[in-house]
């Protein structure tokens, strides 16, 4: 439950707010109320009530008669009895009874908060669905519970911040990965490098070392530029990020590379003079990719397209947690 909240709010970018919102809407009175409470009977004396309140530092007590709630008696009622010099009177004479304002154990805390707001009372007896008295709730109880929940959200957020790769640990599956997809348009030089820059940023955010992030970004940049320069209709870049390995796939639908081995030779390029003027076409793209990856493979067929797969293994020193911190 905790992980679900954290991950969703992380993905949604709303920090802990999602969880707080959920808490306020979802928490039931039964979870926040005090169950360990004192009660008095209608025939108990106000002097006995005074002792009970003083001893336990409480300001309001439910009055129970034969197992059911008969009323509530507060410190203000006690003051009235003191003013009138009637400490030896029974609680019955001073308690509030009749249409009592109560809370239900199964109602959301938010409802109780509203009732406190409207009625200006300090506490409510809590009843279950059979009208049995099961607890008492004050504004203090609610504030305490929400503060505790906030604290939890906060520590969780801090933990994610300190150890972003906790992101992966929080998800259980036989193989968890984060997949990022980018469309790269043919000839879109203005946005050239955007996909690789975004992948780099994502890697840094989830805890990769700067060295690893740069390695992946450089190889991806070369692949991205290849899609921009050499394809008929652009292509896609898909980064599949696992805690121990990152795979980046650049795919297009043509025209395909006539001779892959030749294309991998340093200095070999089919770039036009116009492309070379922009600083491309050094014939070093695939060479650079090879240098940055732990494994690369190219599949290409004329008229069909090209698939370039780049594998980066995450060495232990390439996660922040084990590395530079």
């Amino acid at each position: 439950m905790k992980s679900r909240f954290t991950l969703l709010s992380l993905l949604g970018g709303d920090g802990g707010l999602g969880k707080v919102h959920e808490l306020i809407r979802e928490i039931r009175v039964g979870r926040v109320m005090t169950t360990n409470m004192y009660t008095v009977a209608p025939d108990d004396l106000m002097s006995e009530l005074k002792e009970l309140m003083r001893e336990h530092h409480i300001s309001g007590v439910p009055v129970v008669e034969e197992g059911t709630l008969a009323g509530i008696v507060s410190i203000e009622d006690l003051i009235h009895s003191l003013e009138e010099g009637k400490l030896d009177s029974p609680v019955r004479d001073f308690m509030t009874s009749g249409e009592l304002i109560v809370a239900r154990a199964n109602e959301p805390v938010m409802e109780a908060v509203r009732r406190f707001e409207v009625t200006k009372i300090g506490r409510m007896p809590v009843l279950d669905t059979q009208d049995n008295l099961v607890g008492i709730i004050t504004r203090g109880d609610i504030i305490e519970a929400l503060l505790a929940a906030l604290q939890e959200v906060y520590s969780e957020a801090e933990r994610i911040h300190d150890h972003p790769d906790y992101f992966f640990e929080a998800l259980e599956s036989d193989s968890t990965s984060l997949v990022l997809r980018y469309n790269v348009k043919h000839r879109d030089f203005a946005r050239g490098g955007d996909a690789s820059a975004k992948i780099k940023q994502a890697l840094l955010r989830i805890g990769a070392s700067p060295v690893l992030a740069r390695r992946v970004a450089i190889a991806t940049y070369e692949a991205e530029i290849n899609l921009i320069i050499h394809t008929d209709n652009g292509g896609t870049i898909t980064a599949d990020i696992k805690p121990y390995e990152i795979s980046v796939l650049a795919e297009d639908r043509g025209p395909g590379i006539p001779d892959v081995e030749l294309a991998r030779q340093p200095g070999y390029s089919t770039a036009t003079p116009e492309i070379r003027e922009m600083g491309f076409g050094a014939g070093m793209g695939l060479v650079n990719i090879d240098r940055c990856t732990d494994d690369m493979s190219i599949w290409s067929a004329l008229g069909i397209g090209t698939r370039l797969q780049m594998i980066f293994r995450v060495s232990p020193e390439e996660t922040k947690r084990n590395g530079t911190g």
Binding site: D194, R214, G279, F280, G283, M284, N288
Partner: protein, 110 residues
Amino acid sequence: MQINEIVEKLGLTVLVGADNLKVDVAGGYVADLLSCVIAGAKPQDLWVTLQTHVNIVAVAALKEVAGIVVAESAVVPDATLEKAKQQGVVMLSSPLPVYETVKQLVALGL
């Protein structure tokens, strides 16, 4: 050595990143072919080039160079300047040819 010191001593023009010149420069790199820069430049290098196309910004950001020095007062397109602003890449301009610019950088001890 920081960029602002180099700008001052060489009389370079700051095209982009005037508020961002307190960056340490570790060394230099010269090339106009982007793949060479990608392969050879190191983080915090000052990259001297004649290339002004918008893609030099992506490469500079990718390699985390300290800044780009465009030599011979080559005219830099607005798209390049705009992208450099967005990506926080420092761009400088030198009136001298690449060779002379590099000689001055070397004389500074870079």
